[in-house]
C-alpha cells in the first residue's frame, strides 16, 4: 500500500485549499446549527433533549453533502489528465483510490467533530445522555464513510463532476428513501429485507437510539469495502481504453 499516505495527505490538503469544501463545511454547520437550535427551543417545554438530534439530521443531509465532497476526487483527475501521471507512478491502483477515500473521510471527520460542540451545549442545559450521543456519532461517522464511498464510485465512473454528484445524490436518496419504504410495506419479511439493505435502516433504529450492534458496523464496513473495490476496478479499466 505504498503511496496511500502520500495520496491521503494531498487530498486532505486539497480540501483545505478549495472553496467547495469550505462551502460544504459552512452549509453543513449552518444547517445543523439551525436545526439544533430549533430542536432545543422546541424541547425546552415539550420533551427531553434528543441526544442523537444532530446525527439523525446529518443522516439526511449527507445524501446531498457527501457527493459534493467526493465528486472531485477521481472525475477531476480524469478530466485534467493528471490520472495519466498517477497511473504511471510506481504504485498500484488500490492506494490511489483508498488514499483518496481516506482523505475525504478524514475531512468529514473534522466536520463531524466540529458539530460535537453542540453536545457540550446540551450538557450545559440539561444532563443529557452522553453515551447515547457518542453512540449516535459513531454511527453517523460510519454512515458518512459509506455515503462518501458511494460518492467516490460515481466520481470514478464519469469525468464530469456535476454528473458524478448528481448520480451519487440520486443513489443515496434512493438508499435513504428505502428506509421509509421499509416502514410502510405490509409484508413484514419484505419490509425487513428492504431495511437491511438501506443506509438508514442500520442507523435509525440502532446507533440513533444508543445501540452499537456488530451487524450494523459490518454493514457500513462492507458497504465501504464493496464501493472501494468497484472503484478500483473502474480506475483499472481506464487503462484499457
Amino acid at each position: 500500500m505504498t503511496g496511500t499516505w502520500t495520496i491521503f495527505r494531498r487530498e486532505v490538503g486539497q480540501y483545505f485549499a478549495q472553496p467547495t469544501a469550505y462551502l460544504v463545511a459552512f452549509g453543513m454547520l449552518l444547517l445543523t446549527g439551525l436545526y439544533f437550535n430549533a430542536d432545543l427551543a422546541f424541547s425546552v417545554t415539550e420533551r427531553m433533549v434528543n441526544p442523537a438530534v444532530i446525527p439523525e439530521f446529518l443522516s439526511f443531509i449527507l445524501v446531498f453533502f457527501a457527493p459534493l465532497l467526493t465528486m472531485r476526487l477521481l472525475a477531476e483527475e480524469t478530466r485534467e489528465g493528471t490520472l495519466e501521471l498517477l497511473l504511471t507512478a510506481p504504485v498500484s491502483d488500490t492506494p490511489i483510490v483508498v488514499g483518496k477515500f481516506l482523505g475525504a473521510w478524514f475531512y468529514y471527520t473534522v466536520l463531524l467533530a466540529l458539530t460535537f460542540v453542540y453536545q457540550f451545549i446540551v450538557m450545559q442545559v440539561t444532563n443529557a445522555d452522553l453515551g447515547h450521543s457518542l453512540c449516535a456519532y459513531i454511527g453517523i461517522w460510519l454512515y458518512g464513510g459509506a455515503t462518501l464511498a458511494v460518492g467516490l464510485l460515481f466520481s470514478a465512473l464519469t469525468e464530469n463532476q456535476v454528473v458524478a454528484a448528481f448520480l451519487a445524490m440520486a443513489t443515496l436518496l434512493f438508499l435513504w428513501l428505502g428506509d421509509l419504504a421499509g416502514q410502510i410495506v405490509a409484508n413484514l419479511d419484505l419490509a425487513r429485507l428492504i431495511r437491511e439493505l438501506t443506509l438508514g435502516g442500520h442507523f435509525s433504529s440502532s446507533f440513533a437510539v444508543g445501540i452499537v450492534r456488530a451487524e450494523d458496523i459490518a454493514y457500513y464496513a462492507g458497504m465501504i469495502a464493496i464501493m472501494l473495490f468497484i472503484s478500483i476496478r473502474v480506475v483499472e479499466s481506464k487503462r484499457w481504453r
Partner: protein, 307 residues
C-alpha cells in the same frame, strides 16, 4: 535501455501503433518523429505503463513493461502531452508530491533540485494556477526529473510555448544526455535534428525510417538537387528547357532560379550547362543544395499516405 519489439496497439478496429521495433541505448536521446495521429502518444503511454499493449513487448532497463510494470514505472519519468497539473498546489508542493509518490529518498531536497534545474526555484511558493504556460511546461519537466529516473519520456515538450522558451526547453533536454536515456516525441523535424542522437520516424503507427539525423538524410536523399539560375530566358521557357533534359526528375521555381532534382544516380550538371549554352542563354549559377530533413520527411510520409 529501451527495447521495443513489435509493439502494437488497437483501439477497437483502429490500429494506432503497428508493430514498432526500435531501441534506445543508455545515455542516448531518441526522437520519435511523426505527424499528428502517427501514434507517438500511444507508444509512450504503453512504455510508461499507462496502458497495456495489444501485442508485442517492450523492456525498459531490463524490465518488461507488462509483467514488471511497477519496476519500470520506478525508473521512468514521464511528461504527458497535456501537462498534468494540480492548480491548487504550490509549485514546491506539486513536485514534492510526485517525488514522494515515486519513492524518492529525500523528496524535499530532490524537489528543490529539480526546480533549480528548470529555473523555477524563485516560484516555489506560487500556486500552480498562477504560472504562465511556459513555466507550466517547465514544471512538468521538473516533475518528470524529480526522482532522478534512468529513462525520461517526454511527449512533445515544446508544444505551445514561445520560441525563447522552446530553445530553453530544448537545451534542458539536451543537457539530460549521459545521465538519462531520453525518448522524445515531436512533429517538428528541425527539433528532432537538433536534439536527437537518433530519430525514429513513424507514420500511421509504422516505422518508416530510423537512424542518426545525418545518416537518415544521406540514406533517404535519393538524387541530388541543384540550384540553377539562367539569364536571357523567361522563366517558362527556361523551366521547360530544364525539365526536358534526360535524368531530370522535377524542376521547381525558387527565387530567381530553379531547383532541379535529378533522378537517382544521374549526373545532369554537364547536360544542363551544355543545353543552356546551346539555346543561347547564360548560365549564371549552378550549385548543389542539400535536401532538408523536412523534405525527406514529407517525402516518406507522403509515400506512406499514397500507398
Amino acid at each position: 535501455m529501451i527495447e521495443v519489439e513489435n509493439l502494437t496497439k488497437h483501439y477497437g478496429h483502429h490500429t494506432a501503433v503497428d508493430g514498432l521495433t526500435f531501441t534506445a541505448d543508455a545515455g542516448e536521446i531518441v526522437g520519435l518523429l511523426g505527424p499528428n495521429g502517427a501514434g507517438k502518444t500511444t507508444t509512450m503511454r504503453m512504455l510508461t505503463g499507462f496502458m497495456p499493449p495489444t501485442s508485442g513487448s517492450a523492456r525498459i532497463a531490463g524490465f518488461d513493461i507488462f509483467t514488471d510494470s511497477l519496476e519500470v514505472r520506478k525508473r521512468v519519468g514521464y511528461l504527458p502531452e497535456r501537462v498534468p497539473l494540480y492548480p491548487d498546489m504550490t509549485v514546491k508542493g506539486y513536485v514534492t508530491f510526485w517525488a514522494e509518490l515515486r519513492g524518492a529518498k529525500q523528496p524535499r531536497q530532490q524537489a528543490e533540485r529539480a526546480l533549480e534545474m528548470v529555473n523555477l526555484s524563485d516560484r516555489r511558493n506560487t500556486l500552480v494556477r498562477n504560472l504562465s504556460k511556459g513555466m507550466r511546461q517547465r514544471l512538468g519537466l521538473a516533475q518528470a526529473l524529480v526522482h532522478d529516473p534512468q529513462v525520461v519520456i517526454l511527449d512533445e515538450p515544446t508544444i505551445g510555448i514561445d520560441p525563447q522558451q522552446v530553445i530553453e526547453v530544448r537545451e534542458r533536454v539536451r543537457a539530460l544526455r549521459q545521465q538519462h536515456t531520453v525518448l522524445f516525441s515531436t512533429h517538428i523535424l528541425s527539433e528532432a535534428e537538433q536534439i536527437c542522437d537518433r530519430v525514429v520516424i513513424i507514420n500511421k503507427g509504422k516505422i518508416v525510417a530510423q537512424g542518426a539525423p545525418n545518416a537518415l538524410r544521406q540514406q533517404l536523399q535519393h538524387g541530388v538537387n541543384l540550384y540553377v539560375q539562367i539569364s536571357g530566358a523567361n522563366s517558362a521557357t527556361a523551366g521547360r528547357l530544364l525539365s526536358d533534359l534526360r535524368g531530370v526528375q522535377s524542376v521547381e521555381a525558387q527565387g530567381d532560379g530553379f531547383i532541379v532534382r535529378a533522378r537517382q544516380g544521374a549526373d545532369v550538371r554537364g547536360d544542363i550547362a551544355q543545353r543552356v549554352v546551346q539555346a543561347g542563354y547564360t548560365l549564371l549559377e549552378m550549385r548543389p543544395v542539400a535536401m532538408t530533413l523536412e523534405e525527406i520527411f514529407l517525402d516518406i510520409v507522403g509515400k506512406g499516405q499514397a500507398s
